[in-house]
């Protein structure tokens, strides 16, 4: 007789399930994961010390309050008392120290945001923790939401043999499929390569401690499923069958537009902070000539991008995304102007060798729409008599190519996202340190600029800092290293029975409403209600 495994006991009312698709892999260890789906999971499983509030300012989370001293070199956080982890342990300063040590010690994931700045973290007492910086870093608090606190005891219970001495593997293997957090959700089931299922943590400290802004909304999902697929036909099928509440952000616009036809499905555009750029190699012929670059910048057909390739996106007005604090509106945006382009080209040293020149443009194999950008680019450049070779490259190999000035192509199509939500978070990629990474294909290697960036980032006072950001933007505008194609808008489809709190933003284009998700983060249980039909 087969042992009768009871069908899971029917709960009085159907659990509210919220399903979304994501590009895999999802690494729920906050010291490891850094990509879209991982960072979407982290704030639901874990908490940070501070967060960006719906109003867009830094607000308390695990830390109730904080102070700055020592000219911005020391930050002291006072922790909220009585915060219990999923395992039932209280979160103390020691856990914070452990979590930061772990993040820095492993050096993976988002550690790069902290490694250059954080010197030491110490527990002053049970509820006080002190961060000593290596150098002054003005926007540090806007970066802090990327640091998540783990329950040290749980991690230590689950360490396996590994390369970190006494700390074994730092709990890495276990944390890949389990959580040690305090967040509103906890891991229910983690199916590798398939899906992550999280369930509502009823004893979330926001509820138990009765903290405003950290309580579940009405009809908060009981179950959260993050499904690892982006296959358009599959996603579309699931949406139409109401097997999915929200799509991933990788769906081609055509697919989204089709999905919207289904009743009850609506498309939302989450205005992003990143840019789609064509980065030009300023240390490689012929893009090492500023006139040549300007010619290209003026020849590119920006309008076609937003009308035909990426509808519902907006053009860049300057050198950073206009939603970022610290953006300067003073710069005249580049638009297609063939006359100007020809003018610039004539000034270029390469003007009489155009026949011999071939520019290589690389695009990322994982983002098919980039092919069209490349094709458009090629077409536009042909108007100037510049021939272009298009190369499709998988992201991983692209990273390698861009790390080497010799291999780096003349032009690369890349999405650049910000390290922290300020203009500086984008501008810092022009620093020489970023040159050998995928963040900068421009190879500017400009010491003056490096100086300006370091100075700006080290400024604690916000107004002063923003002013310095403005100067940097003007400087870069002159060098003209990048063709700023567009400001991203993350388009998704959602079922209309899901409530999202959004801030509406910007002008309306063809009846489509742009929205900014509050706090640049999706805290599902806190913001999202689902009324399953």
């Amino acid at each position: 007789q087969p042992a009768q495994e009871p069908e899971p006991a029917p709960v009085p009312s159907e659990p509210i399930v919220y399903r979304s698709t994501w590009a895999w892999p999802t690494r729920i260890d906050p010291a490891v994961g850094s990509d879209g789906s991982s960072t979407a999971a982290h704030p639901n499983l874990y908490n940070s010390l501070v967060r960006i509030t719906p109003e867009g300012v830094v607000g308390p989370e695990l830390a109730e309050s904080w102070t700055t001293s020592n000219e911005g070199m020391t930050y002291t956080f006072t922790l909220r008392q009585g915060v219990m982890s999923h395992a039932g342990n209280e979160i103390t300063a020691e856990d914070v120290v452990f979590s930061m040590d772990r993040l820095l010690g492993m050096g993976e994931g988002l550690a790069y945001l902290f490694l250059p700045y954080i010197d030491e973290v110490t527990a002053v007492d049970t509820y006080t923790v002190q961060f000593d910086l290596l150098k002054s870093f003005g926007p540090i608090l806007t970066v802090m939401p990327n640091f998540f606190v783990l329950d040290k005891d749980v991690v230590m219970e689950n360490i396996a043999e590994g390369e970190y001495g006494d700390l074994g593997d730092y709990g890495k293997e276990w944390l890949m499929t389990h959580d040690a957090g305090t967040g509103p959700y906890k891991v229910k089931e983690f199916l590798l390569e398939e899906k992550l299922v999280m369930e509502k943590y009823e004893d979330y400290w926001g509820e138990t401690l009765d903290v405003e802004g950290f309580k579940f909304v009405e009809n908060a999902p009981d179950i959260m499923e993050m499904i690892g697929t982006t296959e358009p036909i599959t996603v579309r099928t699931m949406m139409s069958r109401m097997e999915l509440e929200r799509t991933d952000s990788w769906q081609p616009i055509e697919n989204l537009e089709e999905m919207v036809q289904t009743e009850g499905v609506e498309m939302i555009g989450e205005v992003g902070t990143s840019l789609l750029n064509l980065m030009m190699h300023t240390n490689k012929a012929p893009t090492d000539d500023v006139h040549f670059r300007r010619a290209m910048v003026y020849a590119f057909d920006y309008e076609t991008v937003v009308t035909d390739i990426f509808p519902h996106t907006t053009l860049v007005k300057g050198v950073v995304n206009e939603v970022l604090p610290g953006y300067t509106p003073d710069l005249e945006p580049f638009r297609r102007d063939l006359d100007k382009a020809m003018e610039e080209l004539e000034q270029s040293v390469y003007y009489d060798q155009l026949d011999e020149i071939e520019i290589e443009i690389h695009w990322c194999a994982e983002v098919p729409a980039e092919e069209r950008i490349s094709l458009l680019f090629m077409d536009n450049m042909a108007d100037l008599g510049i021939s272009v070779k298009i190369v499709k490259e998988p992201w991983l190999s692209m990273i390698e190519t861009m790390a080497d000035p010799e291999l780096s192509p003349n032009v690369v199509v890349v999405y650049n996202s910000v390290h922290f939500p300020e203009a500086g978070g984008d501008l810092m990629r022009y620093h020489s340190e970023s040159a050998p990474t995928w963040e900068q294909n421009e190879w500017l290697l400009d010491e003056t600029l490096d100086q300006m960036i370091e100075d700006a980032l080290g400024t604690v006072d916000q107004a002063e800092r923003f002013e310095k950001y403005g100067e940097i933007q003007e400087y870069i505008y002159d060098v003209c290293p990048t063709i700023y194609v567009l400001q991203t808008t993350t388009l998704r489809c959602v079922q209309d029975y899901v409530d999202y709190p959004y801030v509406e933003y910007g002008e309306q284009v063809s009846g489509f409403v742009y929205k900014v998700p509050l706090g640049f983060r999706t805290y599902y249980g806190l913001y999202t209600g689902v009324n399953q039909p």
């Binding site: 697919n255 092919e371 069209r372 090629m378 190999s397």
Partner: protein
């Protein structure tokens, strides 16, 4: 050889080949594909659409009189791209087979003739290593480690392909080697070279040839599969597999973008398979 006899041979072969109407269909399809591939510039309604071309105003047009198979996301005529795609499919098949076959056959001949010696063991064990995982898996693995280009995909498939010929010829050679005519040549004192190429090889030819015609389809299939997963030909090369793969993201709305290339992949493979079967019928027992 006597021309009359040759003519008779051809007549007989043609009879055997044409007994199955499907073989003729296969031949017709293959001939059409070859012609179209060679004269793609002539047959394609919009030859300039094959590679780099953008016309966003005409993008995503469903099939119509102007664009028989519709246009893709960049406004390129799909039929034109398919016609040029034949070229790549054929180039792939021809180069893979013409590179993989000679060494494969040679090794098979040598190993078969020297059966049960260390030469045989060395050659066949190496071939076995290549045959010890499904060829698709090995091709994927090799491709993934190289830079994804059509050239590298061909290289990977070629590397996968030779052992099949080695094994095929090995089987044939090691049995032909026991035929009396080989022993007669040995008794006469003929050289090993003569025995391998003068006596054994001609008798393996029809087997090899049959496999080659059938293999054209398989190579194209593997090539398009590699392109499909992004390890083969790269855009804007009008490669059928790549077109299916890219277009599949727009199913079902713009179904024609991947459907037509997919359909033509099926047609090519079908054509070569039918032809291959005809060739097999023709050469069988000859």
């Amino acid at each position: 050889m006597n021309t009359e006899l040759m003519k008779e041979r051809w007549r007989r072969n043609w009879y055997k080949f044409s007994r199955n109407p499907l073989s003729i269909l296969g031949l017709a399809v293959v001939l059409a594909i070859i012609l179209i591939a060679i004269f793609a510039d002539f047959f394609a309604p919009y030859p300039e659409h094959a590679f780099v071309f953008v016309d966003f105003k005409n993008a995503k047009r469903p099939p119509c009189w102007q664009y028989l198979c519709g246009t893709d996301m960049a406004g390129r005529d799909i039929l034109s791209r398919i016609f040029f795609g034949f070229r790549y499919s054929l180039v792939m098949a021809v180069s893979v087979l013409s590179v993989a076959t000679p060494p494969g056959v040679l090794l098979g001949l040598v190993a078969g003739y020297m059966r049960d010696t260390w030469v045989d063991i060395a050659i066949m064990r190496v071939a076995d290593v290549f045959l010890s995982v499904p060829s698709m898996v090995l091709a994927l693995a090799v491709c993934s480690m190289l830079e994804p280009t059509l050239y590298n995909a061909m290289l990977a498939v070629t590397v996968m392909w030779w052992p099949w010929y080695t094994r095929l010829v090995y089987g044939a050679a090691s049995s032909i080697k026991n035929e009396y005519f080989v022993q007669a040549a040995e008794v006469t004192g003929a050289s090993t070279f003569h025995i391998l190429f003068g006596e054994i090889f001609p008798n393996c030819l029809s087997t090899i040839f049959t496999k080659m015609t059938l293999d054209v389809g398989w190579v194209i299939l593997i090539g398009s599969t590699l392109s499909f997963v992004g390890l083969g030909a790269q855009p804007p090369t009008p490669d059928l597999g790549t077109m299916v793969s890219d277009g599949s993201k727009y199913i079902p709305a713009q179904w024609w973008i991947s459907l037509f290339p997919a359909l033509f992949i099926v047609v090519i493979i079908l054509g070569f398979n039918l032809l291959g079967d005809g060739v097999r019928d023709m050469l069988a027992g000859d």
